[in-house]
């Protein structure tokens, strides 16, 4: 029955009414842009929240002018209360992880370019695709809503450990309505992402154009395909977890709440629930989610690098296999988040080995990148700078993984700033660099105009140096035993680190301000940038063989046929040192994959 929708998109002409064209559009390109916009809004919110947190950590009892506007009770006299800090922290994480790191590299770029890479005219089920975005949008609005109810959003952290999250408002501000809204929003979000996977997977399997074998798919498309498989299996686990959590709140069930809990001298009515159950369900989703955030970035960065190295990766297939290995392993390692959680210490060891093994595919990917750089004719532009920056960040984040993969060392480092440094470098900053690289690279194709290179480079330098200045010191704080999720350092605890926190705060404010350059560049170029040619980077994959921006059905009715592997660079052809994937020209190439 779904083909009906496909049929609608493919065979009706481009929509004319504004609504169908820009709002409830079935066109995967418009939906991709909508996702991108959503990501932008979310990233701004998340960034501002992190600023407020940082200021509070540096200058605990300082008044932040206007803070009281954000919360009825959270900021008496504009001074941030501990609960408000935790609420901001939770919302920062939630917005960043779900509405930025999942939405931007995967849903936004994926929607726009996956069908083009496969040579399809649109997603197989455009109606579901549209629903996918609008469901996600609803989830976003619901999450925003939690700022305005009762005592504000939940303070339970994005991991929302039970029973703190399940016993209701007696456990703290935002733990009543706040949690219910949070869980509802995420359940809706999962639905939206499942609709997405429902389009991505069949598109890659069934809608590839003639000549487009699986191995001829560009790397980002492989990444998106792998990611959607992960999303399919992990979001469909988070959803039931959220449902159970909501039931514990509104229906008085006891899935996660144990017996005989006493809060505020009040015996809680629940009985018999399992505290660890939530942690297992959550991290079974939570760890793959980390790779859902990072794997698309890997694909995008490889894509950008190859074009700017003017030579293909050492091995297309090894990269694909490694990304696949990451995906598979990511389900076996989730327990390393729970080494000291009271889980059986034997299972801690069982989980630690796959966690250590997962460094192997990661290392292979990095080595392939580095090895491929050898003998390249490297072009330096905003896109490639961010791509190279991604590699640097990913290495830095990766090596700190050595520590956290070992239960014995987690006795020292668990829940310290070391962990914060680790996951920010890997899933947050690296993924963001992937998004930036993708934006500078694909902007011409998405909006038909070039971005400003100078601004792009300035943006890169500030961001690259800034992020290191912010997140490197986190390692040191963690080593010295600075526990995370502390809104301030009371009495005589950890006073010696306040200086470091001040430094980090300043770096964060600076780096955040530098992002304004990016936003300006984005908006200015969108309207005033100079028109983009079809193929500004002399790239080979299908998206560059069609006009920028692409017409409604991508190929203008042309039945595209693919003759080459995706990355035919460093060859001698009529066009120069590259051959487009869909050009019939046969060239002698040393990079043909066996």
């Amino acid at each position: 029955m779904h083909d009906m929708s496909a049929h609608a998109a493919a065979h009706h002409g481009p929509p004319t009414s504004f609504i169908r064209k820009h709002i409830f559009s079935l066109d995967h390109k418009v939906i991709g842009k909508q996702y991108y916009g959503l990501g932008l809004v979310a990233v701004i919110i998340g960034m501002v929240l992190s600023w407020l947190m940082r200021i509070h950590l540096g200058w605990t009892n300082a008044a932040i002018p206007g803070l009281h506007l954000l919360s009825k009770t959270g900021a008496p006299g504009d001074v941030m209360t501990p609960e408000f800090y935790l609420q901001l922290m939770t919302m920062h994480a939630t917005f960043m992880v779900f509405f930025v790191l999942t939405v931007a590299p995967f849903a936004a770029f994926g929607n726009f370019f996956l069908p083009i890479h496969t040579g399809a005219e649109d997603m197989p089920f455009p109606h579901f695709n549209m629903m996918s975005f609008w469901t996600t949008f609803v989830a976003f609005c619901v999450m925003i809503l939690s700022f305005f109810v009762g005592d504000g959003p939940t303070l339970g952290g994005w991991t929302q450990y039970a029973p703190l999250s399940a016993v209701g408002s007696v456990a703290g501000p935002g733990q009543g309505a706040g949690v219910v809204i949070w869980a509802t929003s995420l359940a809706i979000f999962c639905l939206g992402q499942l609709f997405g996977a429902l389009n991505f997977i069949p598109n890659v399997l069934d809608l590839r154009c003639k000549g487009m074998s699986l191995w001829r798919l560009p790397l980002p498309t492989w990444a998106w395909f792998i990611t959607s498989c992960m999303g399919l299996t992990s979001f469909s686990v988070l959803m039931p977890a959220c449902i159970l959590l909501i039931l514990d709140h509104v229906a008085g069930t006891s899935f996660f709440v144990a017996s005989n809990l006493v809060i505020n001298d009040q015996l809680q009515p629940h009985s018999g629930g399992s505290t660890l159950l939530w942690q297992h369900l959550f991290w079974f989703f939570g760890h793959p989610e980390v790779y859902i955030a990072i794997v698309p970035g890997m694909g995008i960065v490889s894509h950008v690098l190859i074009c700017n190295m003017r030579k293909p990766m050492l091995s297309h297939r090894v990269l694909v296999y490694s990304m696949g290995a990451l995906a598979v392993l990511s389900y076996m390692v989730y327990g390393h988040h729970m080494f000291v959680s009271g889980m059986n210490p034997f299972s801690s060891l069982l989980f630690s080995f796959p966690t250590l093994l997962i460094t192997i595919p990661s290392t292979i990917i990095v080595l392939i990148w580095i090895g491929s750089l050898y003998g390249a004719k490297l072009r330096i532009n905003s896109a490639s700078l961010f791509a190279l920056g991604f590699i640097s960040m990913f290495i830095t984040g990766g090596v700190s993984g050595f520590f956290l993969a070992q239960p014995s060392i987690q006795i020292l480092l668990h829940a310290t700033y070391f962990v914060v440094a680790h996951f920010h470098f890997t899933m947050a900053i690296a993924a963001l660099f992937g998004i930036f690289a993708g934006t500078y690279f694909w902007f011409p194709k998405m909006w038909g105009r070039m971005m400003d290179e100078t601004l792009g480079k300035v943006h890169f330098w500030c961001t690259f140096v800034g992020t290191y200045a912010i997140f490197m010191p986190f390692h040191y704080l963690g080593l010295a035993g600075n526990v995370r999720r502390y809104s301030s350092f009371p009495a005589d605890y950890m006073q010696s680190f306040v200086g470091v926190h001040k430094f980090i705060t300043i770096a964060a404010l600076f780096t955040g301000a530098a992002q304004l350059i990016f936003f300006y560049n984005l908006i200015h170029s969108r309207f005033r940038g100079k028109p983009a040619p079809d193929n500004p980077w002399q790239a080979t994959s299908l998206e560059w063989s069609i006009p920028s921006p692409p017409p409604h059905d991508n190929f203008g009715g042309r039945h595209v046929v693919v003759y080459h592997d995706p990355y035919q660079y460093g060859v001698e052809s009529s066009t120069g040192d590259y051959v487009m994937q869909d050009s019939p020209e046969q060239v002698k190439t040393e990079h043909e994959e066996a």
């Binding site: 083909d3 089920f125 069949p202 686990v237 017996s259 159950l277 297992h280 039945h559």
Partner: protein, 226 residues
Amino acid sequence: MATTVHEPPKVEPRRAPGGPGNPGNGGLRNLVPNDDSLPAVRDYAPAPSRTGIWVVMAAITMTFAAFTSALVVRQGAALDWHHLTLPRVLYWNTLVLLASSVSLEISRRRVAVFMGGPRTLDLKPARWLYVTLFLGLAFVAGQYAAWLQLRSEGLFLATNPNSSFFYLLTALHALHVLGGLTGLTYVLRKLHGVILRRSTLDTFSYYWHFMGVLWVYLLLLLWMRL
């Protein structure tokens, strides 16, 4: 994109099992450009809905797997687990659901025949689809009856963990069944209308049989004492 649309319905010819280098396209098969006229090749494109429904079923499977693990853990976690005896009506419901799958299969056979032949044949298959629809509704009604019975026994959602899981799992399954039934009405509309494409009916039938299997699984899960 899927271009089989707007073509007169027909039985799709069996495709030779593809190995590497076998011309054709879609699926996991490699395809190399050859001199076949493009449209001809493209007609063999499998309907994405066939893959799509597998994606959907995978998601549903994972969801219920998560609930299963929750149930197992929760049952082992504490001593407050009172195993309830399932209402007898559930067993009748099971038969009803399985019967609906059978009637669906019958109509599928007929549709195949009728699609192959001239369009003048009467719409016998529709009757069997209506039977499926009716049985499906009967199943949901039966589930509702089961809930009423538990209520009368004073077992509510929050009474004890077992009843919580019972209501949760049955309700979610019933929801999915209702979703299937809306799909069925869509199929019927197509059947009476111009085109019913084979893939559409197949897609629906996969889903419906999956619902049956899922229900049997849930029944065992709720019946078993681990």
